[in-house]
């Protein structure tokens, strides 16, 4: 791993450790005693039915929602013990892609991505915008897009630009909230591939909330299933798919699940033959 030789951290420590997490909205309990671990350099897919609190889990880890109870340890430090400045230090090692992109609508794309570079890495504007353009090209956006404003972009382009912004500071942990939702299948497949390539190259860990079965098969090392207010099972996708649970069986062995599995098996067989 390239990105993992920071002296203060042991490389085998998990990057995110969630223990006994409790999240409530009023009397509605979303998470009860939830445990989850994200290992260094892995892509962890988080799935679950609508309303099982996938996004809430992401927001708790990122620090946008204060959990009602439990411990969240990120990169070896417990988040709620930190003061503002220390927290900001940790947070700039996150890259977050929000469900609807959340690009700043008053800035064009290149400024959107240059902003963290200027603010955190203290680059001069010219350098920051140059890096921003390479990142935009890296996620597959045409050069003209750099000067466009988010409102004039299609959904797929917004997702790509948001990924470029999440990658702006070369984060250690990338949080993706349904990155392929709203993309066409070709764009979604390219996104999966891009994610794996970048992960291999940059060595970041990915917390990926998704509904997309193809993404789970193509990109994720492990899959965590959120159900009954906790993480029901975390394992490789094949093992998760064999878990004896009604929802999991419906999810992975319903018509769409089977199609994704077939596609994946065919793809890996092909790859094996070619090798």
């Amino acid at each position: 791993m390239i990105n993992s030789d920071k002296p203060t951290e042991q490389n085998d420590l998990p990057v995110i450790k969630v223990r006994g997490l409790v999240n409530r909205f009023g009397t509605h309990v979303v998470h009860e005693n939830l445990d989850l671990t994200l290992e260094r350099g892995e892509i962890l897919g988080v799935v679950g039915g609508s309303g099982t609190g996938k996004s809430v889990l992401l927001r708790s880890i990122v620090g946008l929602k204060r959990p009602n109870d439990g411990m969240i340890e990120v990169l070896g430090t417990t988040l709620n013990e930190l003061n503002e400045a220390q927290r900001s230090q940790i947070e700039r090692r996150f890259g977050v892609l929000f469900q609807r992109g959340a690009l700043f609508s008053s800035l064009n794309l290149q400024e959107n991505i240059a902003l963290p570079l200027i603010e955190h890495a203290r680059l001069p504007r010219e350098d920051a915008e140059h890096l921003a353009r390479v990142k935009l090209s890296l996620v597959g956006l045409p050069p003209q897009a750099a000067l466009q404003f988010p409102e004039s972009l299609s959904g797929g382009m917004v997702k790509r630009a948001a990924l470029a912004r999440a990658l702006a500071l070369d984060p250690d942990i990338l949080f993706l909230d349904e990155p392929t939702a709203g993309l066409d299948p070709i764009g979604a497949a390219a996104f999966d591939q891009l994610l794996v390539t970048l992960r291999d190259a940059l060595g970041f860990s990915v917390f990926l909330v998704t509904h997309d079965l193809d993404t789970l098969y193509a990109a994720c090392d492990r899959v965590a299933v959120l159900s009954q207010k906790r993480v029901l099972v975390v394992d490789t996708i094949d093992k998760v798919a064999d878990t004896d649970d009604e929802w999991i069986q419906d999810y992975f062995h319903g018509p769409r699940g089977r199609a994704a599995q077939r596609a994946h098996t065919a793809f890996s067989n092909n790859a094996n033959v070619q090798e």
Binding site: S105, S106, P143, E151, S152, D170, T197, A201, L202
Partner: protein, 376 residues
């Protein structure tokens, strides 16, 4: 020149250390100093060794790709096989991304033509704004007539809710403001009229100004700031959330559902608020005259009844519905003009307040002329 990131002997340039974003500026400076590139922006011909690099991220990879050229960076496996696979993949990926032309600066024009273009744009904008306003007024009036005969389509609940928000809730602020302005006018009148020994005419001054002008004008300006902006922000947020499109796609008329209740609410609220404004302006004047001019409240009322005819009250109040209509229509129209971004909501909210205050004062000036010529 020894450096933390770059070392060169006769033909070989060795890159070493952490080529990361944190060191971007330092590495760039070191590169410039080492004069590896014969001219900026052109890849070097020298042999480059990447073996000593300990960390590499996208920023570092971009610098390397610029240094050695995109083609060479893509073929990194051929000449730097010892480099870890991940770093090779990163470099190749970055080089691919940099192949596309990255510079797309917009065409630049001279200052004079920019200034002319800006003037022209503003003129065209102003013209189209007025046309849109007229068209929108027409649309609202047409819908209004269309619906008058169909009570089933009257949105009573929405209208009452808007009356509460824009009318009832505005009573305290309107009353307070006009009360204070009434006191100020009375003070001014008293000071000036004292020299002529005509302080008793302070009562006429306050009564004339508030019944004819200030009561309705102040109420209208307050509502322009308070309600026109609210209308724009409400409708603008719906517009950017595609709610307006959703209404239309379901065959519902946004004018009927969103605009008419607001317009009707304003048509009912503003005359009432203008009345409140007149009363409370008179009260402010009465307070000052009774406290500092020794004119008793009874005398104030008597003079009011004797000197001031009801025409002034009617003249003042007759302007209220016109103001109300203009404010509501501008507020709603600006809301419909909002496009996607949050900035656009802000721009149009500002524009709606400025426009409606401007229109209120303009109409008031024209009306003053008209009433004067008519001798009312």
């Amino acid at each position: 020149m020894p450096s933390e990131w770059i070392a060169r002997d006769d033909q070989t340039v060795t890159l070493k250390g952490e080529w990361t974003l944190a060191n971007y500026r330092l590495i760039k400076a070191a590169l410039q100093q080492s004069e590896t590139q014969t001219e900026p922006g052109k890849p070097t011909d020298a042999t480059v060794s990447l073996d000593a690099i300990t960390r590499l991220d996208t920023a570092g990879a971009i610098l390397i790709a610029e240094l050695i050229g995109v083609e060479k960076a893509q073929a990194v496996a051929d000449w730097a096989a010892e480099l870890p696979k991940e770093q090779q993949a990163l470099l190749v990926r970055i080089a691919e991304a940099m192949e596309a032309p990255l510079d797309v600066d917009p065409p630049s024009y001279s200052r004079i033509s920019q200034a002319l273009a800006s003037v022209g744009q503003h003129m065209v904008g102003l013209w189209s704004q007025q046309r849109q306003l007229l068209a929108f007024i027409g649309l609202v009036v047409a819908t209004l007539f269309h619906l008058t005969l169909r009570p089933r389509h009257w949105r009573l609940t929405a209208t009452v809710a808007h009356i509460q928000q824009s009318g009832l809730n505005a009573v305290p602020i309107v009353a307070l403001l006009t009360f204070m302005v009434g006191a100020v006018v009375a003070f001014l009148g008293a000071t000036v009229l004292q020299d002529f020994g005509a302080t008793i005419y302070t009562i006429d001054l306050v009564a004339f100004s508030f019944l004819r002008e200030f009561g309705v004008l102040l109420a209208a300006i307050l509502l322009a700031g308070r309600t026109a902006s609210a209308f724009t922000a409400q409708i603008g947020a719906m517009k950017s959330n595609e709610e307006i499109d959703a209404l239309q796609a379901q065959g519902l008329d946004p004018i009927e559902l969103l605009v008419l209740p607001r317009v009707m609410a304003m048509l009912i609220s503003l005359p009432m608020l203008a009345f409140v404004g007149m009363l409370s302006g008179l009260a402010g004047g009465a307070m000052v005259t009774s406290l500092s001019l020794d004119i008793s409240l009874t005398q104030f009322m008597a003079t009011l009844q004797k000197d001031v005819s009801v025409t002034h009250f009617l003249v003042g109040l007759s302007k209220a519905p016109v103001f109300a209509f203009v404010i509501a229509v501008i507020g709603c129209l600006e809301g419909f003009k909002v496009s996607g971004s949050a900035q656009s909501v802000g721009e149009h909210t500002t524009s709606s307040v400025v426009q409606s205050i401007f229109m209120v004062i303009l109409i008031d000036a024209v009306a003053a002329l008209f009433f004067m010529e008519m001798g009312w």
